[in-house]
């Protein structure tokens, strides 16, 4: 640690060097880094599963993995990536680090609860590692009954408990953010002067709080049924397997909005800064995020169109799914309008943001296709669905996460990263991603089912392309490990505001002192007061070109 901070001014990093001061820290900035370590670990666990899957699928006949092992691999990939990487990623790392800074506060409302959330996450992570190492689960991340409750021979209860505990971590984090944003804003920081990243985290937290408990109860019922051998989803008692699906998707659809909203918040910060323009339609952007958060609760049945729900209810859910696309589209229009006549520069964060806009649009449009009942009947449970959600979650969320990491890296570490390496990684990510997942749209259209360890030989060329793309993507994701590590030890010192951005987080030193601000800032300006003509700007505390 001292090697990293040797030539940096006193900050939250140098405050204390003991292991204890890190593991028992209630400083939101340190906790953000603790979470970053945890989710990065799980990113590699989930990535390992993906690597095996793509290697296996290169050849449909030389089974690299046994069929049962293959099932456990895609289940592991789903569970780990959804609950142990994507859902926590931006909120617990960037959110934890930045929310108090963006609000001009010293810390979150409940700092000890924040630390507790990290420990809960680790407990759930240990449980996850246990059941993965003990042999895994083969139900898919969706735990559909009655297979998961009565017939699977995997470690379903352990997996359910791991996710249940993980939910507590989510709820604790969401609770902290909601109360903090309500109560700890700096003087002058009204709701409609908040950076869009803060709004995004707020909307995400609302979803986390209201959806996760339903998942918790659903998994509890699954665990009870598996343990006792009888349960409420058991058809032999008259129970309905679809009841499980209703309850599961009531959480799991809003969960995908938990995964995308923070990314949208990051993109708004990046696009405004690197186009040197205020965001187009600030209030439209905030209302859109609230609309996504609310309407996102009305659409869950679109995961069940062919499962046996009534036609009437399918029509209702299809209609709602079209409606929820509207606010997302508004955001894409507004980002585009922000870029228009902007003074655009292509630093790595901007490359990731631009990639996000394109890939999210493709993912969103294919989502509309899936919301259309007649199309969904043909492509449901095929690779079309897989491609759709990977465009959003990987092309979207992971791109934005990387963009945000690069953007705020100087603030977090006090150092600059190698811009050339980072741009290379960003471009490689975009190319690798499209090569991996675009062929999967074609595969789905051609009829290749998901979660299948083999396929007809006709599909092989697309599978090989996809696996080739995955290998490029893997390199692109590994590159930051190296240049970020180099930056942490040898990177050039960053000033307080290397990007000349307007947020309050840039009005303190890089890295920030332990108490964030020497004096509580007073906010007099809305966010994103950039001038594209000369690149000048006014920070939120009223200081020009700070």
């Amino acid at each position: 640690m001292s090697a990293i901070t040797a030539d940096l001014p006193p900050s939250y990093l140098t405050h204390e060097f003991t292991l204890r001061s890190w593991l028992l820290s209630t400083d939101h900035k340190r906790i953000a880094l603790l979470f970053f370590a945890s989710i990065t670990f799980f990113f590699f666990v989930g990535g390992f599963a993906a690597t095996l899957i793509r290697l296996h699928l290169i050849n449909p006949s030389t089974h690299l993995l046994q069929p049962d092992t293959y099932n456990r691999m895609f289940t592991m990939h789903g569970i780990v990536m959804v609950w142990f990487f994507l859902i926590p990623s931006i909120p617990t790392t960037l959110g934890n680090f930045l929310i108090p800074l963006m609000l001009g506060a010293r810390d979150l409302a409940f700092p000890r609860l924040n630390l507790g959330s990290w420990y809960l996450f680790n407990v759930s992570g240990l449980l996850a590692i246990y059941f993965l190492v003990a042999g895994g689960v083969d139900t898919g991340w969706t735990f559909y009954t009655p297979f998961s409750t009565l017939f699977s021979n995997g470690h379903v209860i352990a997996a359910a408990v791991a996710v249940f505990v993980n939910g507590f971590s989510s709820i604790a984090t969401g609770l902290n953010f909601v109360v903090t944003i309500h109560r700890l804003r700096a003087p002058g920081l009204t709701w409609f002067r908040l950076p869009l990243f803060v709004w995004a985290i707020y909307a995400t937290s609302v979803i986390m709080l209201l959806a996760t408990p339903v998942l918790a109860m659903t998994l509890a019922l699954v665990a009870v049924e598996r343990w006792l051998g009888v349960g409420v989803f058991d058809p032999s008692l008259g129970g309905d397997p679809l009841l499980f699906q209703h309850m599961f998707w009531f959480y799991s659809h809003p969960a995908v909005y938990i995964m995308i909203l923070p990314a949208m918040g990051v993109v708004s910060e990046l696009v405004t800064c690197f186009a040197r323009r205020p965001v187009f339609g600030y209030s439209g952007m905030t209302y859109a995020m609230i609309a996504i958060a609310v309407i996102g609760f009305f659409v869950w049945g679109h995961h069940m169109f062919v499962a046996g729900i009534s036609t009437f209810s399918a029509i209702v859910f299809s209609l709602m799914s079209f409606v929820v696309a509207v606010p997302s589209a508004i955001k894409v229009f507004n980002w585009t309008a922000t870029l228009h006549r902007g003074s655009i520069s292509f630093e790595a964060p901007m490359l990731y943001a631009l990639g996000f806009i394109g890939l999210f649009t493709i993912g969103g449009l294919t989502g509309l296709m899936l919301a259309t009942l007649d199309i969904d009947i043909h492509v449901t449970d095929t690779y079309f669905v897989i491609a759709h959600f990977h465009y959003i979650m990987v092309g979207g969320t992971v791109s934005a996460f990387f963009g945000g990491l690069h953007f705020w890296w100087p603030k977090i570490t006090g150092r600059l990263y190698s811009e050339a390496c980072a741009r290379g990684a960003a471009i490689l990510t975009f190319l690798g991603f499209n090569l991996t997942f675009f062929p999967q749209f074609i595969l789905g259209y051609l009829g290749m089912p998901r979660r299948s360890y083999t396929y007809p030989p006709d599909f092989q060329v697309w599978n090989v392309l996809s696996s080739a793309g995955a290998s490029i993507l893997a390199v692109a994701y590994l590159m930051p490990l190296f240049y970020f590590a180099w930056s942490a030890f040898r990177g050039e010192r960053a000033g307080p505001n290397p990007w000349r951005a307007t947020g309050l987080e840039w009005r303190t030193s890089s890295p920030p002192p332990e108490r964030n601000f020497e004096r509580t800032p007073v906010v007099t300006c809305p966010p994103y007061q950039y001038d594209p003509v000369d690149g000048s700007y006014v920070a939120q505390d009223g200081v020009a070109n700070a």
């Binding site: 209201l210 008259g238 309850m247 049945g301 009534s310 209810s313 859910f317």
Partner: protein, 91 residues
């Protein structure tokens, strides 16, 4: 102030009695309405009196209401499927 808590407690007990007694009356399909109606009323009294929902900060109302309001989404959109299935109810 304290007397209002005592009064609320008495009202809650009376409502409990009402719910129990009504269970033994032959009111047919009104039973769930009465029982859950009583329960909801009791919860409202607990929230407003014992949990002092009416005192500042006012934002508490939003949080308290949000939970119940969101449940409506689950109940309404969920039951639509069952009510419009053919062959429902099965038992």
């Amino acid at each position: 102030m304290l007397i209002s808590y005592l009064a609320a407690w008495i009202v809650l007990l009376l409502l409990l009695g009402l719910s129990v007694l009504s269970a033994y009356l032959p009111i047919g399909s009104l039973h769930p309405l009465v029982n859950f109606g009583v329960a909801v009323t009791q919860v409202a009294i607990v929230f407003t009196v014992f949990m002092r929902l009416t005192s500042p900060p006012r934002i508490k109302w939003v949080f308290a209401g949000a939970g119940f309001f969101w449940l409506l989404f689950l109940f309404v959109l969920g039951v639509i499927d069952y009510l419009t299935r053919s062959g429902f109810p099965p038992g």
